[in-house]
């Protein structure tokens, strides 16, 4: 770079800043108005750091088009609400009278009101002070001496004191709190104490507010009735009269005492109340949930039943398929329900999903009629499979599953979910149990065989836990029942019939008993309900059936799932069929991988491997429950016997 270049560049730069500076100075030199030239000269080249404001005044509003200036004057006025003729002054518009005429927008409301007011008075001579109308006084009973003598006499109250009370009521607009505060009646025959000890003197008779109210209301009611016989009173007047005659001082006193105790409650009670309220809220919401679930279950159990009269609709397999699809969709939308109840479901599917492919069918338990109708859906799974030797199967890890989930999963994924139960609480318990047995939660050699064994173990632990739970529940039931029996100790046999008649209501009433709040949707939820219903069931055996059906309901759901899975399986199989048979195994493996990455199972359904243990668990649970139910019924027999005694 040469010096010339530099100069060139600098030269251009050097010239540049001059121009704007000159301009700026020019701007500054324009002396703002109001700043004397001498002063401005002192500022020098640089502008002062203060902002010189434009001193131009705000533009004047143009009044000229409107009317001329309104004159105001400071005027004397009297307030008719005062009887001493006090003269005060305030500002008001000239030649207008009263504030009423100040028709400024803000006041127009009052003004117009006042106008009408004044019109109503049809031009009373007095201009009136607008605020005087706020001087409202209550109407207090008036009575003559004779009236008092004949009607209002009281042993407790002298006429003077009654007069005093009424005057106070008038003065304080019947604010009883203030009246009782200011009440300082001095009987006239006693020398009146000097005024300055007013706040110190105690009233001769300590009148409570209730005494005063009682006296006042009785006087007021009587004078009201004297003035106007009851028959000719208007409704509001009559109501007022009724209210006053019905005033009960003792009731008021007790109420106040209660209010007092409420007011001085200690912290513990307040806390307790808070807890109870929270509990109540929980119970109420639970109850709502419970009854809603029940209702839904009923709906579900009954709705197809009513339609079953016309099975003609479902003659062909296609129609049936559609029906099933609809039902499944409806179920998908709902959460899985877990409430048992007396329903049409019937124990038709008691043998459960373990019966395998041959038993797959439409929702017989739902339809009630479809028991013998088989669809062609079930069969297709078993067709067209090439058989490998047992050793090969083990080698390739081929399993013939009774049911598969939708989509594909890796076999190893099963390892992670081995010890998982349906709820966290249950999983925790499970892990504890495994720890006790000295088996690690994670297998060190998770071969398929080991996993199978492990699953079996987990399944039995599961059963153990269930059984333990049920036994605990039974114990509490027994305890409760004992307590009840002891309490009743006899003679309400008809209560049984009653309870039977409205079993559901009975159940709802006892919902609060079981405080189990796991927040667990499936298994626990049922158990909750069971526990809740316990005391009632002790009394009537009918509900035990309930119990059984409860289990069945569960089963049904399992089945639905199963069916769903089958469909998908079938679809997959169809795909498979297209492929060449020889490559079946590898193809399947590949396909699995592809499918896995491509359509990751959005539903988050459990893998096929997981299904088995839970199914078995479910059936076992079922049986356990039946057992527990039978125990219950047994027990209830006992208790009813005892009751009979």
């Amino acid at each position: 770079m040469t010096a010339a270049d530099m100069k060139d560049m600098l030269g251009e730069l050097a010239i540049e800043p001059h121009a704007p500076r000159v301009k700026k100075q020019k701007v500054i030199e324009k002396r703002p108005e109001g700043v004397p030239r001498e002063l401005f000269a002192l500022f020098g080249e640089r502008a002062p750091p203060i902002a010189i404001l434009d001193t131009k005044a705000k533009e004047r509003p143009k009044f000229s088009s409107r009317q001329k200036v309104r004159a105001w004057e400071r005027k004397q006025f009297t307030n008719p609400a005062r009887d001493d003729g006090l003269v005060l002054r305030h500002w008001q518009r000239k030649e207008d009278t009263g504030i009423a005429a100040l028709a400024t927008p803000a006041d127009s409301n009052i003004a117009s009101e006042m106008d009408t007011d004044e019109k109503e008075k049809d031009g009373k001579a007095e201009p009136g002070y607008p605020y005087a109308r706020f001087n409202v006084k209550v109407t207090v009973p008036e009575y003559s001496d004779e009236q008092y003598e004949s009607h209002l006499k009281s042993e407790d109250w002298s006429k003077e004191e009654t007069d005093y009370l009424v005057s106070l009521a008038l003065e304080y607009d019947l604010r009883w709190i203030v009246i009782s505060d200011r009440y300082e009646y001095q009987p006239s025959d006693l020398p009146k104490e000097s005024a300055d000890s007013m706040s110190v003197t105690v009233p001769s008779k300590d009148r409570s507010m209730e005494d005063m109210k009682a006296r006042y209301y009785s006087v007021a009611a009587k004078t009201m009735a004297l003035k106007q016989p009851l028959q000719s009173m208007s409704t509001t007047e009559f109501e007022l009269h009724e209210k006053m005659t019905k005033f009960d001082a003792t009731l008021e006193t007790t109420r106040k005492k209660l209010a007092q105790t409420l007011f001085v409650r200690p912290l513990e009670e307040v806390k307790e109340e808070e807890i109870l309220l929270a509990e109540l809220k929980r119970i109420v919401t639970n109850q709502e949930k419970f009854s809603q679930e029940r209702k839904e279950l009923y709906d579900r159990l009954q709705a197809p039943h009513s339609a079953a009269g016309s099975t003609a609709m479902y003659k062909t397999s296609h129609d049936l398929f559609k029906l099933m699809q609809d039902l499944l969709n409806a179920d998908k939308n709902k959460k899985r329900r877990s409430v048992g109840g007396p329903g049409e479901g019937g124990p038709s599917m008691a043998n459960g999903p373990s019966t395998g492919a041959s038993d797959r069918g439409p929702r017989s338990s739902l339809g009630g009629t479809g028991n013998d109708k088989r669809t062609s859906l079930g069969g297709s799974t078993s067709t067209g499979q090439k058989h490998l030797s047992a050793r090969d199967e083990a080698k390739f890890g081929i399993a013939h599953l009774e049911r598969t989930s939708t989509g594909t999963t890796f076999r190893h994924e099963r390892i992670n979910n081995l010890a998982k139960a349906k709820s966290n609480a249950l999983t925790l318990k499970m892990t504890h149990a495994l720890q006790e047995l000295g088996i690690p939660a994670r297998l060190s050699m998770p071969t398929a065989a080991v996993c199978d064994e492990y699953e079996k173990l987990v399944g039995s632990i599961h059963t153990l836990l269930e059984v333990r739970k049920v036994s605990e529940k039974l114990e509490t039931e027994i305890k409760i029942a004992r307590a009840q029996v002891e309490e009743k100790d006899g003679g309400n046999a008809d209560a049984n019939a009653d309870a039977n008649a409205n079993g559901e209501q009975g159940k709802l009433e006892t919902v609060g008993v079981g405080g189990d709040d796991d927040g667990d949707e499936d298994a626990e939820g049922e158990d909750d309900d069971e526990a809740d219903a316990v005391p009632e069931r002790v009394e009537k055996e009918e509900d035990d059936d309930d119990e059984d059906e409860d289990g069945e309901g569960d089963e049904e759901e399992e089945e639905e799932e199963q069916e769903q899975e089958q469909e998908q399986e079938q679809e997959e199989d169809d795909d498979d069929d297209d492929e060449e048979e020889g490559e079946q195994v590898q193809a399947q493996g590949k396909q699995q991988a592809v499918a896995d990455s491509a359509d990751e199972d959005a539903d988050g359904d459990e893998g096929p491997e997981e299904k088995t243990p839970s199914e078995t668990a479910a059936t076992r649970r079922n049986s356990v429950r039946k057992r527990s139910a039978s125990v219950v019924s047994h027990f209830s027999n006992k208790s009813s016997k005892r009751q009979r005694k």
């Binding site: 005060l88 209550v138 505060d181 007013m198 209210k243």
Partner: protein
């Protein structure tokens, strides 16, 4: 069963509140133990706030010079004595001086002094015979002939005092005099017709239940534990701490050199010629000013629980107080100290009598004087039906409630004492609104259109 009353009455007060005001240019005067507040009704802050103290300078045998207003009473004139027309419990004792003070409060800022009245013409030249004839005043000389006057009074004012106040104000104003209960005004200042008003001023703390704008007399309770008591506690704290904290007001210090914290001050104190030194009362007033400054900047209330107690985790509050960062303060003579836990001690006596600092002359306050106890006994005097309502409308006013942490502590104390009902404190956040609450309430009241028909003239 309150129905009957509710149906029949619709009260002028509350209706008045809802409607527009009518300006009658009333003056509002709110005399307190420490300051007198005066201003026009309808304004939001008193225009004139003057000290309630006045100075007396003896001039020879029969002449006395009176000093009013902050500009003159704080000058260390020779042999000046300082007085307050109010007794220590907040009642007016010296009516003549009280009247002069009120006149001063109004004329110095609000209305122009009438030339006909030489007394009001120039306050500094104001030399008057002590036995001056006041009756000779004619209409012309009354300072506020045009304006009605609303004056606040304490709820416990005896009837005799009240009459006297009215008489006295008739001399001040021709037209009208309204004596309005101070505490009603308080509740109006925060826009509540019903409230439990807690006023911690200079001379006394008072609790007053107000229902529908009317004071419930039986519920009024008060105690002398207020700003002045806190000042006394501070004096005690300073004299008993080691090293002793010197309390030399500004006027005594003629020069000082900076010293380290806790080091003895190196200041040259002013000396007065024999017989011309200001009275001890003057020094006391100056000390009071210094202490108010100290209260504003250093003193704090332990906000949660008793200082002598423990917090929820079982930690000693006193220990916790020691761990709070200290606040430094420098005295006029240069002595400076960072005040740690002791800054909480001075106010604790208002809540917990056991924690009050005591010496032979100042015994511990009565247990019933603490603010929580006062509230309890006040509430026990009113009808149980309105107690919860009052508790949810607790209004906190007065200069001494401005001490840091005061409302928080009061809130905690009340909640601990009444766990059941809802407790809600409303304290004006603005310093001026808190200090001048009774004046502001009077200002609102006096600007209502219904004002002059409701009040007893």
């Amino acid at each position: 069963m309150e129905v009957v009353g509710r149906v029949l009455t619709f009260n002028a007060f509350s209706q008045g509140l809802m409607n527009a005001a009518d300006e009658i240019s009333a003056l509002v005067l709110d005399p307190g133990f420490s300051t007198i507040r005066a201003g026009f009704a309808g304004e939001d802050v008193p225009k004139s706030v003057v000290s309630s103290y006045y100075g007396v300078v003896p001039l020879g045998a029969s002449k006395t010079k009176y000093l009013y207003g902050d500009n003159s009473i704080n000058v260390p004139s020779p042999r000046v004595t300082i007085h307050n027309p109010m007794s220590a419990d907040g009642n007016i004792e010296n009516w003549d001086r009280a009247k002069k003070l009120w006149e001063y409060a109004i004329t110095s800022r609000l209305t122009s002094a009438k030339p006909a009245n030489p007394i009001l013409h120039d306050k500094d030249d104001k030399v008057e015979q002590q036995d001056v004839e006041m009756d000779g005043m004619d209409e012309q000389e009354k300072p506020m002939a045009e304006n009605p006057l609303l004056m606040t009074e304490t709820g416990w004012n005896s009837g005799k005092n009240r009459e006297k106040a009215v008489l006295l104000q008739r001399e001040l104003a021709t037209t009208t005099v309204v004596v309005m209960q101070k505490l009603t005004c308080h509740s109006f200042s925060v826009g509540k017709a019903s409230a439990l008003v807690i006023d911690v001023g200079a001379s006394s703390t008072s609790i007053t239940p107000v229902h529908d704008g009317l004071i419930l007399k039986k519920g009024i309770v008060r105690s002398p534990l207020a700003g002045n008591y806190i000042s006394d506690q501070l004096r005690l704290l300073f004299s008993t701490s080691s090293p002793q904290v010197p309390l030399n007001p500004h006027y005594l210090v003629s020069s000082k050199t900076p010293v380290d914290a806790l080091a003895p001050s190196q200041a040259i104190l002013r000396t007065f010629a024999n017989g011309s030194a200001p009275d001890v009362t003057f020094r006391r007033l100056q000390e009071e000013r210094l202490l108010t400054e100290f209260k504003e900047t250093v003193v704090q209330v332990w906000p949660s629980g008793r200082l002598a107690g423990h917090d929820a985790q079982g930690r000693n509050n006193l220990e916790a107080a020691k761990n709070t960062p200290p606040r430094p303060f420098e005295m006029p003579d240069g002595y400076n100290q960072a005040f740690g836990a002791e800054r909480y001690r001075a106010v604790e006596g208002l809540f917990d009598p056991k924690m009050a600092l005591t010496d032979a002359a100042k015994p511990a306050p009565q247990a019933g004087w603490t603010i929580p106890e006062l509230i309890k006994s006040s509430l026990s005097q009113v009808d149980v039906d309105i107690r919860p309502h009052l508790l949810s409308n607790v209004v906190v006013v007065g200069g001494s409630t401005l001490i840091h942490g005061f409302t928080e502590r009061l809130d905690n104390e009340l909640k601990a004492m009444f766990p059941g009902p809802r407790v809600r404190l409303s304290a004006p956040g603005n310093v001026y609104e808190r200090k001048f609450a009774s004046w502001i309430g009077g200002s609102i009241l006096a600007s209502l259109g219904t004002f002059h028909q409701v009040c007893v003239f």
